[in-house]
Structures are given as C-alpha cells and as structure tokens.
Symmetry: C2
DNA sequence: CGATTTTTCGTTAGCGTTTACGAAATGTGC
DNA sequence: GCACATTTCGTAAACGCTAACGAAAAATCG
C-alpha cells in the first residue's frame, strides 16, 4: 500500500540505511547515490513514517498546546502565532481546549503525555501544579503562558501583568477619573498581578478608595465573561458615590459591564470611563469602542515558538527562561474624556 | 527513565503480552492477574507508549484539522466542538492554520501525512483538489467542511449554502427592501451557492436587478475581510439608485461595509438594511447589532466528531456521507425596518 | 478418570525506522 | 606498490508495542 524505505532500497539495490542517510542528509553517503535515491523518493512521493522514526529517536515533532478556551481571542492568537512559526521546522501542534475545567485539563495532559510530545505549552486553569508536575516528571520541557507558578521550574512567556494594571489605572487617572473601580479576575497570578498594578497606580497618585471598589467576578469556569461582567457591574452600580472610572480584568467582562451600565442609563465615557484588557479584535467595533491593554498575544505565540525551537535544538540550554513582554494601552472612545 | 511494559511484566513475573492484554481489556486474561497488573500500572503511573502502539496497529489516534484561519470564529468553533467530542474517545487534534494560502495548505497536508493520522478534516482554501487527492491516495478518510468538491469522493459536513443566500435575501425582501445588493464571496462552491440563493430569492419575488448589484470582494487570502468589505462598499455606494438592502458574504465583510456606509453618512437600517453571515460572537455587540445567518459551527464540529468516530470504528461504513444542516437567520437591528 | 473443550498465558515475529559498528571501496602518502 | 587514512556502504540490533499461534493449565463431559 504505502511505500516504505525498504521498497526504495530494493528498487535501487541499496540498503535501507543508505536510503535513511540520504533522507536525513547525512555526510556519510556519496553525492551520486544520494541524488539517485532522492530522485526516486520524489518520484514515488515517499515520506518517512514519523511514527517509526519517533519510536527510535524519542522525538515526535509534536508540541502539545493546552489552553482553557481555543476560541478565546487571546489563546486563539497564540495558537496561530505558534503554529505559523513552528511550521518551518516541521513541528506540529496538538491542541486541547480544556473549557477552563481543571479536572479536564489534568486528564488531557495525562493523555497527551502518552503521545510522547516534545514539548508542552500550557495556559493552565488550575490553581495547583498537579498536571504540570506530571509533565515535569515525564521529563518533557514545559512553557507556561500567561500564568506563573512561583517555585515551579518551567519556562514562561507573557506580559508583565502588574504593568497591565498600572497602565490601565494610570490612564484613567490621566483622563481625570478619581473614583476608579476594578472588576478583578480570579485568584490566580494574573488576577492578583493586575489588581496589584491597579493599587500601585492609585497609591502613586495618593488616591484612597474603599475596598468595595474592587469587586470579584468569579472564576473563568463559572459562566461566560459577559454575564460575569454584568453581575459585577450590579455591585458597582450600588456604590455611593458611583465610580467615574472602571478597569476590567478583560474585554469580555468589560462588554458585559458596559451593557449593564447602558441599561442603567449611564453614558460611557461621560459618566464612567472604561478600560478593558486583551484588546480582542472586536473591541474596536463595539457600540462604544473599548480602550484596552494589548497583551501581545500574537507576539507571545511567536516568542514561544522561538523558545521551543531553541529548547529542542540544544536540550541543555537554559533551565528556566522567562520572557516578559511590555503591554501596550490602546486608547479608544470608552475612556476619551479630554 | 520512563516505565515500560517490560518493567511491569518483570516486576510481576508475567510476560509483556499479558500486561498488554490487561491494559487493552482483552478477554483472554484471568481477572485476578488483570487486577494485579492494573494495580501496578496505576501505582507506577504507567501509560502505554502510543507511538509504539501506533506503529504496529497502524492507527495513531490523531486527527488532522486543516483550516484557513484558526482564529476565525467559524473555524474556531469547529475546532472546539471537534476537540470536545473527540476527547472521550481519546483522539487528539493536530491543527494547522493555512492562512488561506493554497500553497501552504498543500505543504501542511503533505507533512501531516507523514504522521499517519487516522482522519483528515479539511476546510480547503484551494480551488483544486490537489492536496485532497494526496490524502485520498494515502487511504486516509477525509471529511470536508464548508467547501464541497463535486466529483471528489469524501465526506461532507456543513450548512446548505444556497439556503443561506435565500434566507438572507428573503428576509430583506420581507423587510420591504427591493433594491438588494450582494457582496459575494470567492469563486468557490460556497461563494457560488450563496450567490445562487440570493438570485433564487429575487427571482421568486419577481425582482429584477442589474448585474452590477452583485459585487465581488476578492479572495480570502487578499487581505482581511474588513478592508475587503470597505472596498466592496465603495462600489455599492456608486450604484444609482442606491440599494436599500445588502447581503454580505460574511460578518467580517459586513463590518467593513457598514463602517464605510457610516462614513458616507448612511443610516443602518433606515437607508440600507444589512444582513451578514456566520453569526460571529461579536456581531450582536456592534454599534448596530448585525442580522446574520447562523452557520451552526459548533454543531458542525460535533457532527464531524460523531462521523469520524463511526468512520474509525467501522472502517467500511458509508463510502461518502454528506451531512447538511439547516442555517438559521438571527434578526437584529441592522435589518429591522418594521 | 480419560478425552475434549475452554481459559489463560508465553514465544516468536514484526511494525518502519535509526544507531552502532564494522567491512569494503576509494583515495593519499611516499 | 604498500601502508594508511578516508569515504561509502551494509549488517545486526533496538525502539515499545501488538498479532498470530501454540502450549499449558483448568474446566467440562461422558
């Protein structure tokens, strides 16, 4: 059925190893025979069986990508950037969308491990490192995206999330807001970092606000971001005096929050200026285009790809590299007050 | 390093095959020994090496997904639905985003073939069947999404695109529009089918319009949908008398077209009612929420998964199955005239 | 209790490739 | 033309698993 090395070797009267050498561009083969073999390979449309190769070399050319939600713009862009860069090196991406379900994520990682992937890229939705530890035990390189786990050895690529919070809050302050609320994310490294940035900026400007100005909106797995944003906005609407600025953990939440604000008769940005995070591609097309912090998702994907390639080409390079990108604020109408 | 069957077998004083039998739940093994083995397997955290298994069984548990653009809401949803359903059966998804580049797509398919995938799911951006034929030659089952290639044997899952065009156009007519323009898609089965539906609906109502009411907007690979939509809208603005209704090939193009219409001082839907296609998740949140035809992307993904599972479980089932779903119109403000 | 069936297990071979090693062919120095 | 290094190739074994077969053990039957 399908053509194997054996067939080509038999056809040309050489041994299988010689064919193998020609295909992998080994030095210990005469140019003439190599040419002869490659000609036949091309003519028969032969492709080496990577499964077999993988079994003996121990390298599968497969990269595992585990994200909470494939359709989420942030992770989607990462997948795209990663895929584009990995292509040249003939690595392929095995993806898993864990639906922000910690148990599912753990199972997926477990199963993917059986495919003997060369590297894992994980944006974990877990609070612990249980699934990551299994990867570590298996001796597979691991790149963390977006989430950090202090004390756990792995590589990291992402933006500086403290700066994200600072950028957003500083911007609102610069626009003249003084009563700035924050719809914070989950109790993870990201959620905490952004909230920390928010506090930093306020402190820097001597603005003191009650704790009630920071409202939680549950976990990513609770329900979709919009309804969580709407719920959080309820709480904010109840604050007296009403905030004049709002920094949301991400754009999806901001969309829900803004929707609710409109229903309450508020005008954006006049009554309350809003800043989101993620700069999702639809954020510029909303009823009121949303100011947002760009997380450089595309660039993150490409940087991960580069990191992986260097990791796999010289396995004993850096033990634990950390690539931190600068976030960027994209100002739009939702915060334009002057 | 990593534990193998051999190790477990040696530990327990049984043969490797016995371990294999226990793991695959074979009938020809005593319950007692099976239990003994499974206990040890669990305790050692053993997972069979799928690469090795794949080499001998010829089945990799890997499904290839080739789409023009992973971040496109339609394909993203499909990937998600597919991944979710395949999970239970322990199949994994290898994805490739071809960036709507026909050459890239061909190369990707070629490379993926080397991984000996169990099945291909392709939303082709090619006009010919060159890459698909290679899949066919390799004897790998193929499911086509969204695009059909008449005369080419494969499975198909997607919506009825003629009906998409009819639904959109009938709706505009029902809203009172009579001069209905169409920004058509590329010269592929989808583009043609939707344009055909548009013509059908007009004919059914005895509406005759000049050819200039159908404007092309280039290929998907030309540039992003929005700028293509803007460009197409230029042509439409030049029509005398100006159309009072517009059916766009997809939502992204509709966004561009509407943007340009706003700039020209038109009001939507009052001056021109707009219907898109795809019902992307941001379409309801636009400045003017967009009426759109839902393509059932999530359902498509799930149906594909079911099809694949049945294909792989009984390989000699139907030769060429075709699953056609009904599109659904979601009415919003952009076409609300009465 | 011996003959026969059924259950349980081990042996051998092979999936398609690469690695390690050694042998043959070719080239180089004098 | 001989000793040696270099280039080019082939043989054997292995990667971790499963398929096919047959042997041993246990169960069933008259």
């Amino acid at each position: 059925m399908t053509v194997r090395m054996k067939d080509i070797a038999a056809d040309l009267g050489v041994s299988v190893v010689t064919v193998s050498r020609a295909l992998r561009n080994r030095p210990d083969i005469a140019e003439a025979t190599k040419a002869r073999i490659l000609e036949r390979v091309k003519r028969l449309n032969y492709r080496p069986n990577l499964t077999a190769r993988s079994l003996v070399t121990g390298r599968s050319s497969l990269i595992g990508l585990v994200v909470p939600d494939l359709i989420h713009p942030f992770f989607g862009e990462i997948a795209k950037g990663l895929s584009a860069r990995l292509r040249d090196k003939e690595y392929y991406l095995i993806v898993s969308s864990s639906e922000s379900d910690p148990q599912l994520e753990q199972d997926e990682v477990e199963h993917m491990l059986a495919h003997h992937l060369d590297c894992f890229v994980v944006a974990s939705s877990r609070k612990d490192t249980d699934s990551l530890r299994r990867i570590d035990e298996a001796g597979v390189p691991l790149v963390l995206v977006d989430r950090r786990f202090p004390g756990f050895a792995s590589h990291f690529v992402g933006v500086d999330d403290v700066k994200v919070g600072e950028l957003a809050t500083e911007h609102l302050i610069a626009q003249g807001c003084r009563r700035i609320a924050h719809i914070r994310g989950p109790q993870t490294s990201i959620g905490n970092a952004r909230a920390e940035g928010y506090s930093n900026a306020l402190a820097r400007h001597g603005i003191k606000l009650p704790d009630s100005y920071v409202v939680a909106c549950g976990e990513a797995s609770d329900s979709d971001g919009e309804t969580r944003g709407r719920r959080a906005m309820e709480e904010i609407l109840a604050l007296k005096p009403c905030p004049d600025g709002l920094f949301c953990f991400n754009d999806t939440i901001a969309v829900g929050a803004m929707d609710r604000a409109f229903e309450a008769g508020l005008r954006i940005p006049k009554d309350i200026a809003v800043v989101g995070c993620g700069n999702f591609h639809y954020s510029s097309k909303l009823k009121v285009p949303l100011t947002s912090i760009d997380q450089k998702s595309r660039e993150i994907g490409e940087r991960i790809a580069k990191l992986i390639v260097s990791l796999l080409e010289k396995p004993h390079s850096a033990r634990s590299r950390s690539i931190v990108l600068e976030p960027e604020l994209i100002a739009r109408e939702s915060s334009r007050l002057r």
